[in-house]
């Protein structure tokens, strides 16, 4: 197993390298650049701009320069936000995204697991139907619609919360809830299915037959065993939440990385595109690795050689 982990970690480097290379060349071949303006610029001004920002060199040369800089830890500067380095932008904007993602994840996990377990324990009862109904509602509407309703009710009508910005409770509750809806639904369905599966197992029947109180059976045997497979699925969910939900950040005007990733592409902000892509790729690859390890640790049938 250890060799497997080391091998996977080493493989992170070529993966990132390939992502970076493909992105770089793709980026420079997308029509328009950071200085393509709606009002066409005179050729001399275009030349001046390209010269100033070293965009007049051939793409492969710019690529090598970029690689050299990155190896020295320099990720360049942003065009759309002049004077700010890509690294500082990512550092600065990852904070709200991470806070939002982690908060949403916790809410989704707690709500989802509780609901799912409750439903499973009351299978085919009215509570079960309610849980399933509620969880599917959450997954049936796109996040911006849910956000829209929450805003109409809690911001415009009730004035309980503020809509735009991030930082304090009044601003943070609605985005977190909007973002948590879908993963909560997903987690609750999986929990329900997993708990149901465990409940039917022989060893649970045995525990009950032994005379253990219902609660003890539930907690000690069922929940613990059903949580394990759920945990492995939580990995990608967390990774997805951490990479930033563009839509929620946009609707609530949160200065996060999700928005930045999309904005930078639309602005052809080359340095930021590369920075956010690499950052996101790194997160994903690590998350996948963690999930694969958990998967193997949990299911003894899977063997990596």
């Amino acid at each position: 197993m250890t060799t497997y982990i080391i091998r996977r970690l080493l493989l992170v480097i070529p993966v990132l390298f390939i992502v970076a290379t493909v992105t770089f060349f793709l980026m420079h071949n997308v029509p328009g650049g950071p200085f393509t303006m709606d009002r066409p610029l005179p050729p001399a001004v275009q030349r001046n701009l390209n010269h100033k920002y070293h965009l007049d060199k051939p793409v492969w040369e710019q690529y090598l320069l970029y690689l050299r800089d990155v190896l020295h830890g320099d990720f360049g500067e942003s065009f759309a936000q002049r004077g700010r380095s890509v690294a500082s932008i990512i550092k600065h904007e990852f904070k709200p995204t991470a806070q939002l993602g982690i908060a949403a994840f916790l809410v989704a996990a707690v709500v989802g697991i509780t609901l799912g377990a409750t439903a499973a324990f009351n299978q085919n009862g009215p509570i079960d139907y309610l849980c399933v109904f509620f969880s599917t509602i959450g997954a049936s509407f796109p996040s911006f619609i849910i956000a829209a309703f929450l805003i109409i009710l809690f911001v415009v009508k009730l004035h309980w919360f503020k809509q735009l910005g991030w930082g304090d409770l009044r601003h943070d509750v609605l985005p977190v809830i909007s973002l948590a809806f879908l993963p909560a639904s997903y987690i609750s369905r999986i929990t329900r299915a997993s708990v149901l599966e465990v409940i039917r197992q022989d060893y649970v029947r045995t525990a009950r037959a032994k005379g253990l109180r219902e609660i003890a059976v539930d907690l000690r045997h069922v929940l613990r065993n059903s949580l394990i497979p759920i945990l492995t699925l939580l990995g990608p969910i967390l990774a997805g939440l951490l990479s930033g939900s563009f839509i929620i950040e946009y609707v609530f005007s949160i200065p996060g990385i999700g928005r930045e990733t999309v904005d930078s592409i639309f602005n052809r902000d080359y340095g930021v595109i590369m920075g956010t892509t690499l950052f996101y790729a790194f997160l994903i690859v690590i998350a996948n690795l963690v999930v694969d390890i958990l998967y193997a640790a949990v299911d003894p049938r899977i063997r990596y050689s």
């Binding site: 029509p31 303006m37 709606d38 936000q81 002049r82 904007e93 309703f149 109409i152 200065p255």
Partner: protein, 617 residues
């Protein structure tokens, strides 16, 4: 477990109920609407760019030119605080900008949001009043031929500056400052986007184009660059006298000295900080406000400049500019009291206009803008003027303005917008809506009832308004001419690139004026071979007309000439003009003294912000 589940379920049920209740139709107070007519949603940068470069003005009245009567104190509010103004500690205002400024370096800026903030941080030699007339700011008077400010041949400008002017850090502003500023604008290493505006200064073009072009690059030495710089005919004769020599007389040169490209630059700061001179921490201006805080992608805070040397002094002490992309969210925030000013979103404009309370708080003011369907005149089928005119006459502009834009634009059929000298109401008839005439024209062109007419594409960015725009246009053209158009949806930069490379058939585009002179709307833009003439229009008669108008010293005569140029363009259907954009802002009732101007780039009243105040409540 059972207790917990009950509590959980109750909460879950309530949440669901709430969500469903809202799903079944929210009342009229709910607000979610998008920007009026500005392009791609996610890139607010593209939306600013889509309104073509920066703002500027055109006067409300015909006489746009500065009079010898110099500074008109009436045009600038007196220093007296209005009687109903709240005490200074309550003079705080929060406004909205749709996009984040790229940077705040006036010699490099070209986006509206940058210029809006620069209006507050800097003051140049002159300023436009609310009617678009020039009024001295750093200068003592408007140079004219009568007072010797302009030489008889119109080639030499001598500008006298006020004494005692300072930047906010105490550095003096002298004629040397202005010389440095203009040379900086032309410096190819600075790469100012508006450098082209100053090419008629002797030596200006040579200096700015010293690096050549992409196809023919040049690599001058530092010494050569310095020589070119010294050859630029901008000279400080003494501390308060600036002399500029032009290659040809121009009726708009003073206007161009009043825009952001000529806002003073502090050499000390630039020498000290280099590229970082205009970073929020280092930025130094001479305007009524200074930068206090810059939270990227969130907000910008300005406070009144205690060392402001011009008059009148601002009344608002703290201005918070919140950067909010989505105008419907911004409108919500305004309703919630989080914003004092915002734009009225296009989709709910009618609702706002019809509301007796809200409509009183709306300020609707023309921007100097014209928009329409542009053609690629270099290829079939749009090389045929009859085809173009048929399209121009086949669209009902009034319905367009009402249905698609809900009254946030003004229908128009002239290239030069109302308010700009050169606008002639009579020209509106040339492309007037006339479906019968349109059909006939198309038949004359060889496509009776649209037969044989190819399916063509119009380039648009993605937005709900543009979707409605397309649906509307395609129906009009289908019903009236029986031709089919398709939407070519691309993102902002791709759209700009296609335009620059002339890779389009139809294009929804237009222009926003930079300063109130029609040369900004004609020269190079529609003249044969112009660098910004992307549609490829060419008419020697038009070229001649523009040349004549630019050389005409008498501004009234020039206006008449420009009107004729407009007529030629419209008769050729160089494009199919559709409307003129309006700025539609809404203010909280406590905000008073807003003087909207055509120079506004961000929100109504920002160019003449000194008059805004919060009333006592």
């Amino acid at each position: 477990m059972r207790q917990k589940s009950r509590a959980l379920l109750t909460m879950g049920g309530l949440l669901t109920a709430a969500a469903l209740a809202m799903a079944c139709g929210s009342s009229n107070n709910a607000n979610k609407n998008n920007t009026a007519n500005n392009a791609a949603k996610p890139s607010a940068v593209a939306s600013a760019a889509a309104s073509a470069a920066a703002s500027a003005a055109a006067p409300g009245t015909a006489a746009a030119k500065p009079s010898a009567a110099a500074a008109s104190p009436a045009a600038q509010a007196t220093n007296q605080r209005p009687a109903d103004a709240a005490p200074p500690d309550q003079q705080k205002l929060t406004v909205r900008l749709a996009a984040e400024p790229e940077f705040l370096d006036p010699q490099q800026s070209e986006f509206e949001q940058d210029i809006a903030v620069e209006h507050l941080l800097f003051r140049g030699l002159f300023v436009f009043d609310k009617d678009g007339n020039l009024v001295p700011a750093l200068a003592t008077e408007i140079p004219t031929k009568e007072n010797g400010g302009i030489s008889a041949d119109g080639l030499t400008y001598t500008i006298h500056m006020k004494t005692g002017q300072k930047f906010s850090n105490g550095d003096p502003i002298t004629a040397q400052t202005m010389e440095y500023t203009l040379k900086r604008e032309l410096d190819p290493k600075v790469a100012g986007s508006y450098a082209g505006f100053y090419y008629d200064i002797v030596g200006g073009q040579a200096y700015s184009t010293a690096l050549g072009t992409k196809d023919k690059p040049k690599n001058p030495t530092d010494q050569e660059l310095q020589q070119l710089r010294d050859a630029v005919a901008v000279k400080a004769l003494d501390d308060t006298t600036l002399q500029v020599k032009l290659t040809a007389p121009s009726g708009s040169f003073l206007d161009r000295l009043a825009i952001w490209g000529a806002y003073p630059a502090d050499k000390n700061v630039i020498d000290k900080f280099g590229d970082k001179a205009y970073d929020p921490a280092n930025l130094v201006g001479n305007g009524p406000y200074i930068l206090k805080e810059y939270a990227a992608k969130d907000h910008i805070t300005l406070v009144a400049n205690p060392n402001y040397t011009l008059d009148p002094k601002p009344i608002i002490q703290t201005l918070t500019i919140r950067l909010i992309d989505d105008s419907s969210q911004a409108f919500n925030a305004w309703k919630n009291g989080e914003l004092d000013e915002t734009d009225v979103p296009g989709a709910s404009a009618q609702q706002v206009f019809n509301d007796p309370n809200l409509s009183k708080l709306v300020i609707k003011f023309p921007e100097q803008s014209t928009r329409g369907i542009e053609f690629n005149l270099t290829q079939k089928p749009f090389d045929n003027p009859k085809v173009r005119m048929a399209i121009a006459k086949a669209v009902d502009r009034n319905a367009l303005a009402q249905v698609v834009f809900q009254g946030t634009v003004q229908p128009g059929a002239t290239w030069l917008p109302p308010g700009l000298p050169g606008y002639d109401k009579a020209n509106e008839d040339i492309q007037k809506y006339d479906p019968a005439a349109a059909k006939q024209l198309l038949a004359d062109a060889g496509y009776p009832n649209g037969q044989g007419f190819p399916v063509t594409k119009i380039i648009l960015t993605q937005s709900p308004t543009n979707q409605n725009l397309f649906d509307f246009l395609s129906k009009q053209l289908k019903d009236n001419l029986n031709i089919t158009i398709q939407a070519d949806i691309v993102d902002g930069k791709t759209r700009s690139q296609r335009y620059t490379n002339r890779q389009f058939e139809l294009f929804w585009g237009g222009w926003i004026g930079d300063y109130p002179n029609a040369d900004d709307w004609t020269n190079d833009l529609w003249t044969t071979g112009g660098t910004t003439n992307k549609p490829g229009y060419s008419n020697p008669q038009f070229d001649q007309c523009v040349k004549q108008a630019m050389q005409e010293a008498d501004q009234k005569k020039a206006a008449t000439l420009y009107a004729q140029c407009d007529k030629i363009m419209l008769q050729d259907a160089a494009l199919a003009v559709m409307d003129h954009d309006l700025r539609v802002n809404i203010f909280q009732p406590k905000v008073k003294g807003v003087v909207p101007a055509l120079t506004d780039a961000g929100w109504a009243g920002e160019a003449l912000f000194e008059s805004v105040y919060i009333a006592k409540q």
